[in-house]
């Protein structure tokens, strides 16, 4: 319970700080609208050919709906990948890291708390993006499989969080030059099917894409949101995300704890 209250205080702190930059908050919501409009017109250009693309037909045949779900999920996955390392780096640079580490709160909770606002805010932006698609551009969204949706979203969060914690470990140790985030992020955009169906990729590359959590998250969320498919159709994706979580989360926590120990020995915990 006390950990939840500490996390709440982090969220409260960062919301207050973000709201003190009002123009930035307004612009970021406006950017979501601009993104939706851009892809709406892009999909207008593809009207007439959409039906002739079998890999798109698998997801309902609307490029607008396909790309908007891709963007919403990738926004969130990117945030999960970067939030932890960015929060550590920001706290090191602003000088608040040391002050938080000498309190009774364990470092893991400090890092999770520091990333919480970014994760929550990005989730909100993703929902706004999908909401705009549904309400303004009449994009069909099926929410009746909401229990499965919650499971998929939860596993997407936990599996990408594992990668984010790995990345934070790199920042604690090396301060800059985290190789993991850029690699995972770049490969996800290329192979997971954010803006084009992964089925258009060569078969071996499609197999390679299965090692990325975003591939499974996109597949499952498109099936559920765009087709209203029954839970049994996303079993494979759920298992994939579960494996990433079950293997990745403990490993990432062990790696992070080791990084912190090394940084304490080097005396570089709060350096940047």
């Amino acid at each position: 319970m006390s950990s939840v209250l500490v996390l709440w205080e982090f969220l409260r702190r960062d919301t207050k700080i973000a709201l003190s930059y009002r123009l930035s908050a307004i612009l970021q919501v406006a950017a979501m609208f601009s993104l939706a409009v851009t892809f709406f017109f892009l999909s207008l250009m593809m009207q007439g050919v959409e039906g002739k693309i079998p890999s798109l037909a698998r997801y309902g045949g609307s490029y607008f709906a396909f790309s908007l779900v891709g963007l919403a999920v990738s926004l969130y996955v990117e945030a999960s990948l970067r939030s932890f390392s960015m929060s550590v780096r920001t706290a090191q640079i602003t000088g608040t890291f040391e002050a938080m580490l000498v309190t009774r709160t364990p470092i893991g909770l400090v890092v999770l708390g520091s990333a919480l606002y970014s994760l929550t805010y990005t989730a909100l932006r993703s929902v706004i993006l999908l909401g705009l698609g549904a309400l303004v551009f009449q994009m069909p969204l099926y929410l009746h499989e909401w229990p499965t949706l919650i499971v998929v979203v939860g596993l997407t969060v936990s599996s990408t969080m594992a990668l984010g914690i790995f990345s934070a470990g790199f920042i604690v140790l090396f301060k800059q030059g985290d190789p993991l985030t850029s690699a995972i992020s770049g490969l996800s955009w290329l192979l997971s099917g954010v803006l084009y169906p992964k089925e258009i990729l060569p078969l071996p590359v499609q197999e390679l894409a299965r090692v990325l959590p975003m591939t499974h998250a996109l597949e499952a969320l498109r099936q559920l949101l765009l087709l209203g498919a029954p839970p049994s159709t996303v079993d494979g994706s759920i298992v994939g995300l579960f494996v990433f979580t079950a293997a990745g989360l403990p490993l990432s926590l062990v790696w992070f704890a080791w990084s912190v120990r090394r940084a304490r020995v080097a005396g570089s915990l709060a350096r940047y």
């Binding site: 500490v6 205080e9 702190r13 700080i17 002050a99 000498v102 309190t103 009774r104 364990p106 304490r264």
Partner: protein, 273 residues
């Protein structure tokens, strides 16, 4: 009686980063920087000890080890019997670390919000947090500034806020790292009175106060520990140590003067090699 702070044979060596040329000879390790070279010290509950020494003497490294931010290379350090390496979380429950760096606050939050956040990290919430913040603001003279943004506070006010933050959890052991650095003489004297009369004499807290200000050490301490080059050079009352401290600081100043004159020779004199 269990000492408030006990440090035995504490050593800290920092690895040096290799220069570009040294990367070509990876089998040769650069000599480490020795920050602490076998420090022994003891602070009793209710005692105020000043750690004095020139810059680079190892004072901050010692405090950071006690604050669990740095792991020592050898030796042990414990706070009220709790080893800071083996049980860092337990040790932090017993310590209040006054970090004087003004960057360690959230500039766009108010004084109250900053204290509320750090109080939550110290396990205080609800009414207990509100009352503690009010009491500490009164203690350090920041009651009127509670709703002002941190960025609008003066340097001295920020320093006093740092002190209030260190006291939030009401810990039995307090570490001050040059806590009066940016205070005007009046405020610094008031802070020293708070430390001496309220925290030590009344509340019986143990205080380890690092400074390089001789006047401050004279005004504050029961006992002075003089540090130089990572070692405890001498220990005792300020009166007894004054000649030794004065000699050490004079030697440091003299070395700096020589270096300054080498870099910026007086007009007309021949430049040093």
């Amino acid at each position: 009686m269990t000492p408030a702070i006990e440090v035995v044979g504490l050593e800290k060596r920092f690895k040096k980063r290799r220069s570009g040329r040294q990367l070509l000879t990876p089998w040769r390790r650069p000599a480490p920087t020795v920050a602490l070279a076998g420090v022994n010290l003891r602070v009793e509950p209710g005692e105020l000890v000043t750690l004095i020494g020139p810059n680079g003497a190892g004072k901050t490294t010692l405090l950071k080890i006690l604050g669990t931010l740095i792991t020592p290379t050898a030796g042990t350090a414990s706070v009220l019997g709790v080893d800071v390496v083996r049980a860092p979380a337990e040790a932090r429950r017993r310590i209040g670390y006054v970090l004087a760096d003004e960057r360690s606050f959230f500039w766009r939050l108010s004084t109250r919000e900053n204290l509320r956040f750090f109080a939550a990290l110290e396990g205080l919430r609800g009414r207990a947090s509100v009352e503690r913040i009010r009491a500490l603001a009164g203690l350090v003279g920041l009651t009127e500034e509670l709703d002002r943004d941190f960025q609008d506070l003066s340097t001295g006010q920020r320093q006093r806020l740092a002190i209030a933050r260190g006291l939030l959890a009401d810990p039995p052991v307090l570490l001050f790292d040059e806590a009066t650095r940016s205070l005007d003489p009046g405020r610094a004297a008031r802070l020293r009175r708070i430390i001496r009369e309220i925290l030590v004499d009344r509340e019986k807290k143990a205080v380890l106060f690092a400074t390089h200000d001789l006047g401050e050490a004279t005004a504050l301490a029961d006992r002075v520990i003089l540090m130089a080059e990572g070692r405890v050079d001498a220990e005792g009352s300020m009166e007894a140590l004054r000649p030794r401290i004065a000699a050490l600081f004079a030697a440091e100043a003299s070395a700096e003067d020589i270096e300054y004159e080498r870099l910026f020779p007086p007009p007309g004199s021949a430049p040093s090699p």
